[in-house]
Amino acid sequence: SAVLALDEASRMVDPSGRITTVKSAQKFFSEDKDRSFEAKMMDESARLLALQQQLEAESDGKISFFGQSVNETIRRCIVNGMLKKADKIKSDFKVSDKRFWYTKLHALTEIRDFEGLDAF
């Protein structure tokens, strides 16, 4: 049933509705004690969606974040010069250093920010 809720969530376009269904999936998972990992992940997922909504609002809807993965969100933050946000996501979602640096590296190369690259 949790998977069903997820399936539903992935089809939803409306942001708030999507967060609600992900949360309900999280509840389903948390009822089963063997599924604590899945529950945790769903919790993260809901947090991410909320954060993305906030990011979109801050950038006046110019950059779309909603529904992207953590890595992609970080990448878009860096590409658009929101380095602080990227660092915050890293700590909020416990992104490993290795993965963060690779993402950052790719992002900086993409926008040809050689000063940023130099600062590595």
């Binding site: 998977v3 997820l6 399936d7 969530a9 992935s10 992900v22 063997d34 990992f37 899945e38 992940m41 769903m42 993260e44 997922s45 991410l48 529904g67 992207q68 993965s69 953590v70 890595n71 992609e72 979602f93 416990k94 992104v95 490993s96 290795k98 993965r99 690779y102 993402t103 790719h106």
Partner: protein, 673 residues
């Protein structure tokens, strides 16, 4: 072209007969509707149908226009509308949508629904619920085995793997049984049925219990003189093989570019020669250019067929040999051209005519050489990328159980670098199967990395990989609450590696020269599934390397050809213990004419005659397995192998299927046909 191999294993039965059957059934089905009609086609069927027929034939039988079966309005000038689709709920909804809309617009149509491969009560129930059952005639179009090569039959059922092991939908098993029964109707009963795996057992059970009810055809009760056995391998029995990267030419094309219904999409400039070509045999089928461009360049479908002699020669070779082989062919071709050129100076008309005739053949050869050189040029840079080689290295290390924890962190690194989702999942599952589970803590970290990188929406994918029916991505130790069937399915990879001789320490030099074991298809690893077939059909091949033995004994035998006569089928004998360690049921049934035991004479006869074993892969097989089985068939005189499968798979399309990733079906309305 080297033809010894082909002559030696000339196809024992004409697989094209299946094409004819399917074609005739389609024509009959179309003709059952009078007058001109509009054909509405399930996109997933276009490819398989393209193997059967061409647009001209459909037009000839009254098809006026063709559309994809899609939601939205359907406008048709003909009164007859024929739907052709797999029995799926979403299609039924679309169809009833069409009918209702037409009713509202009060345009009159006759609807016919052709279900592939058979009627489904679910569909009629649904239509009834929608209130349109009365408006539509339902019948079946029995599309079964399609020949995709001289020795390969496929049901071209793409979702078979997912249906059985994720959704628990066993209609594929039933359809497979139906198709195998058709095979028996044509050629007689399989004298012996062997199988490994729970679903294989179910399939064989269906085959044996279904028989008495079937009416009439006499052949059903006669043991076949052509077949000696049917070997059913359940995909669940060998999950390792499809997870590995295929290294044969055809396999690699499938991995990198993707082969659908034995068509591959290539850049148009590669398929269409710059200068017009006269070559007929190798000319690409006149498929209209697909308008969708995957990358920058237009793509065009190219049919990989066994009528192309060069491809037949190349398809099963390890990719490392391809360059050399192409080079050789190019040289030969150049010489031939030169010779013709000098021949042109000779004046007699008879000679001239002969030369001109030869040129036609050369041109088609030239054309196919050009295409295959082009394809290998496409593949080559990819096989040189760091990611490709890293993943190969991880695969080989995992197979050898070498420094497992390091491999797991390498996979983590690949995720960090944003490698292909499919590749990551394949490696993870491989790690889990070969080691009996990834350490719980590490697995949790990886899963987390995975979800954060590729998106939380892939959680269901991870869940279904760990679900009891599949259980190919598991933590170690298993949580105490694990259902017993999962623990029972624990795969004994390490003992198997020894008992089935899965890893071959070949030095690469030798590998280049001769393919002396089936392991050439994965550069040193022998697919378990094919080893199991060898347990039945070529017992010596499992224990030691037949090719090596052959070399040593060749002097003694003199010019005997060096091939060993195939031993008769004696079931799993000698390998019962090994089979028992692999999860899933083992089956071995004799199937004789009703009531009477097969006379001894018949068995003795088998020794002299060439017989054929059918290997059926339930849940799909890879091109490398086909290549390996062809190799097995070449080793023995007196036994051919026909490969039948629910479809062609590779690790990537398994993962995509599980994840619900829909690779865009390219092509215009009738590109596939």
């Amino acid at each position: 072209m080297s033809t010894e191999d082909i002559q030696d294993s000339e196809p024992p039965l004409d697989t094209n007969i299946f094409k004819e059957i399917s074609k005739k059934a389609l024509v009959d089905a179309l003709n059952s509707v009078n007058g001109s009609k509009t054909l509405v086609l399930d996109p997933s069927l276009a490819g398989p149908l393209g193997l059967v027929t061409e647009v001209a034939l459909l037009k000839h039988h009254g098809v006026d226009k063709m559309f994809w079966l899609e939601a939205g309005p359907l406008s048709s000038n003909t009164t007859n509308i024929v739907y052709l689709c797999r029995p799926m709920i979403k299609y039924v909804r679309i169809i009833s949508g069409h009918i209702k809309r037409h009713a509202k617009e009060s345009s009159k149509h006759n609807y016919t629904l052709l279900l592939v491969p058979r009627l489904s009560s679910l569909v009629s129930r649904l239509l009834e619920e929608e209130g349109v059952l009365g408006d539509i005639t339902i019948s079946a179009y029995n599309l079964q085995f399609l020949p995709i090569a001289d020795d390969v039959l496929s049901l071209e059922y793409e979702s078979a793997f997912k249906d059985i092991w994720v959704d628990g939908d066993e209609s594929v098993v039933y359809d497979s049984a139906q198709a195998l029964i058709t095979l028996q109707k044509l050629f007689g009963l399989f004298p012996r049925l062997l199988g490994k795996g729970d679903h294989a057992a179910r399939l064989i059970n269906l085959l044996t219990t279904y028989l008495p009810q079937t009416s009439n055809p006499d052949t059903l009760f006669e043991p076949s003189t052509i077949f000696d056995s049917l070997i059913v391998i359940d995909r669940r029995v060998d999950m390792i093989t499809p997870l590995l990267t295929q290294l044969t030419y055809e396999g690699l094309i499938d991995e990198v570019i993707g082969v659908r219904n034995s068509h591959v999409e290539l850049p148009a400039s590669l398929v269409n020669p710059p200068a017009p070509q006269a070559g007929v045999a190798a000319a690409p089928p006149p498929a209209p250019t697909s308008s969708t461009s995957l990358r920058k360049e237009n793509r065009k479908k190219y049919h990989l067929t066994s009528t192309d002699p060069l491809f037949t020669e190349l398809r099963d070779l390890n990719f490392s040999n391809i360059g050399k082989r192409l080079n050789g062919v190019a040289h030969k071709l150049e010489e031939d051209y030169k010779r013709n050129h000098s021949d042109l100076h000779s004046k007699t008309t008879a000679q001239l005519r002969e030369v001109v005739g030869r040129i036609g053949g050369l041109q088609s050869e030239h054309q196919s050489l050009r295409i295959h050189t082009g394809i290998s040029e496409l593949l080559d840079p990819i096989t040189r990328t760091e990611q490709f080689n890293k993943s190969l290295e991880i695969q080989q290390n995992l197979l050898a159980s070498y420094n497992v924890s390091e491999q797991v962190s390498s996979i983590e690194e690949m995720i960090a670098q944003g490698a292909d989702l499919e590749m990551v999942i394949r490696l993870l599952c491989l790690a889990s199967i070969t080691t009996g589970g990834i350490k719980a803590k590490a697995l949790e970290n990886i899963k987390r990395d995975f979800l954060q990188t590729y998106g939380y929406n892939f959680l269901p994918l991870l869940l279904s990989l760990a679900a009891p029916s599949l259980a190919i991505l598991l933590p170690n130790p298993l949580p105490p609450s694990t259902p017993p069937e999962v623990t029972a399915f624990k795969y004994p990879f390490v003992p198997l590696r020894k008992s089935l001789r899965l890893l071959i320490d070949d030095n690469l030099e030798a590998l280049d020269e001769v393919e002396n074991d089936i392991s050439f298809v994965y550069s040193g690893y022998a697919p378990i599934s094919v080893r199991l077939v060898q347990c039945v059909a070529q017992k010596g091949g499992v224990l030691s390397n037949p090719a090596e033995k052959e070399k040593t004994s060749e002097q003694n035998k003199g010019s005997f050809g060096g091939k060993v006569q195939a031993h008769p089928i004696v079931g799993w004998k000698g390998f019962e213990d090994i089979l028992a360690t692999i999860p899933g049921k083992t089956v071995d049934i004799m199937q004789n004419a009703i009531g009477a035991a097969a006379p001894l004479g018949a068995i003795a006869q088998h020794k002299v005659k060439t017989t054929t074993s059918v290997v059926f892969f339930l849940g799909g097989c890879t091109y490398t397995e086909i290549a390996a089985l062809r190799w097995v068939a070449r080793q023995n005189r007196g036994r051919n192998i026909i490969i039948a499968t629910t479809g062609i798979i590779n690790g990537t399309n398994i993962v995509d299927g599980l994840a619900g990733i829909q690779k865009t079906i390219t092509g215009t309305k009738d590109a596939g046909i």
